[in-house]
């Protein structure tokens, strides 16, 4: 029987947004924390740290997110670790997002003029304080646009979590589309919701850039 596309169908699609938002937040948090560590390793004075981070970035940038999720969810059990889907997406998205954010932030850290670090050294500031109080605040300003750009990509990328069983926005739309035979309507609804999630982020990015420009 073919279902009609009515309010309850629209709501069913909308209910997928919860998972999409949750998955996005997990990816931002995991990617942000680990990404910062990767960026700091990549700009370290120690060659072996730089090399480790470089390898990490190359590997996770060079393989598709879909494959990474797949390997974590189906691969870890083979090694004897049973993982629930939430753990799997957390690991998968963290690896993926941290590699990209790590590289974006590495570039931003290196874009801060060398004289800033030299002034910090000359004042006797420690590594932590040089990074936290001098270099990172300036790198952050430089990285606003590419970081938000990647976050928007990531929100849309959460649809890949469907392959390990998550019913998020895209998957919900797919289910409704095949039940109602109204793919255009179903995917159209999902697209609007994605847009509503991503658009404010892009606006926020512009606002932040403008504010930083005025301040310095």
């Amino acid at each position: 029987m073919i279902r009609e596309f009515g309010l309850s169908e629209a709501l069913a699609i909308l209910s997928g947004v919860q998972s999409t938002i949750l998955l996005s937040l997990i990816a931002f948090a995991g990617g942000g924390v680990v990404g910062l560590a990767i960026a700091l390793m990549r700009t370290s004075e120690r060659a072996w740290l730089r090399r480790c981070a470089g390898f990490y970035i190359d590997f996770f940038q060079g393989t598709p997110l879909l494959m990474q999720l797949f390997l974590v969810f189906y691969g870890l059990p083979v090694l004897g670790y049973k993982v629930n889907p939430w753990v799997a997406v957390t690991i998968g998205f963290t690896l993926h997002a941290s590699a990209f954010l790590g590289e974006v932030w590495r570039g931003s850290i290196q874009a801060v003029p060398r004289g800033q670090s030299e002034a910090a050294y000359a004042l006797g500031l420690s590594y932590v304080s040089r990074m936290r109080n001098v270099v990172l605040p300036q790198a952050m300003r430089i990285s606003v646009a590419p970081t938000v750009g990647f976050m928007v990509q990531l929100i849309k990328g959460t649809s890949l979590a469907a392959i390990i069983g998550f019913v998020e926005l895209s998957r919900a739309a797919q289910i409704i589309a095949s039940a109602t035979y109204k793919p255009l309507l179903a995917y159209g609804c999902a697209a609007i919701v994605y847009f509503l999630l991503c658009f404010p982020l892009s606006r926020l990015s512009m606002r932040l850039e403008k504010r930083f420009a005025v301040k310095s």
Partner: protein, 256 residues
């Protein structure tokens, strides 16, 4: 106690900087050749020389912004060849002023001055604020404390940079061509600040082309060329009667 007496007293102390046999290469190019120099506490030294002569590299070695490959460099009793711990200790005691100011653009003028006392010395926020205002007022820029560096002129920025270094109450100040990036009309305000610092007995090592400044405040003038110290002398004989032909040639070019 007069200035002269102060320095005489200090002469019984070990030198603030003691350099012997320092050599440095960038790849196969030797930038510092067998440098030997002793700086007494309270002494004001001006280093001049053509570009590429190694004068900036030399003072950047003194607070370890550059490493050297051979020789011995002791600052305030700390041997810089003996590990990171000494380097951190030396940097906290040695102030540096750069050609490009290098103020932190995301912090206000006052915050620029407060950062190192708070983070390195553990000074409380209120004390750091007081310290910052004291030195900003001293370089006559107290009324700009809440502005960001980009809102100030070059000369003002450089004076903030001097105040920022002074907030760490350094035992030695290094100046790396502090007026070279300034518009001509702003050179004087920065030099005046440096002169008043010298008058108060600060130990200073200045790389500069401002020969008027050298005549006025230097105890000794050093001429460097191609990585070597060619000539060291008191300002009057140094300018009136330079001994080495390379010094003569260099000073001749400056005067014309």
């Amino acid at each position: 106690m007069s200035d002269q007496q102060l320095r005489a007293d200090n002469s019984t102390h070990p030198p603030i900087v003691d350099i012997s046999g320092v050599q440095k290469w960038f790849g196969t190019f030797q930038v510092l050749k067998d440098i030997a120099l002793t700086v007494a506490r309270g002494e004001r030294i001006v280093i001049c020389g053509p570009s590429g002569s190694g004068k900036s590299t030399l003072i950047r070695c003194i607070n370890s912004l550059e490493r050297y490959q051979e020789g011995r460099l002791v600052v305030d009793g700390y041997d810089l060849g003996a590990g990171q711990k000494n380097i951190d200790a030396v940097r906290a005691e040695v102030g540096m002023v750069f050609q490009q100011f290098n103020l932190f653009p995301h912090l206000t003028v006052k915050e620029n001055c407060m950062l190192a006392p708070m983070k390195v010395r553990g000074t409380s926020k209120r004390d750091a604020q007081e310290l910052a205002m004291r030195f900003l007022t001293r370089v006559r820029i107290g009324d700009q404390a809440e502005k960001y560096p980009a809102q100030l002129s070059g000369g003002q920025q450089q004076r903030v940079a001097i105040a920022r270094a002074l907030c760490m109450t350094p035992k030695l100040m290094l100046f790396d061509e502090p007026t070279s990036a300034l518009d001509p009309e702003m050179v004087k305000e920065v030099l005046d600040t440096m002169v008043s610092l010298a008058d108060e007995g600060m130990t200073m090592l200045c790389v500069t082309h401002e020969m008027g400044f050298a005549r006025k405040v230097a105890d000794r003038v050093i001429f460097m060329d191609r990585g070597e110290i060619i000539e060291i002398g008191k300002p009057e004989p140094f300018f009136a009667n330079p001994q080495n032909p390379r010094t003569q040639a260099f000073l001749g070019q400056l005067l014309h």
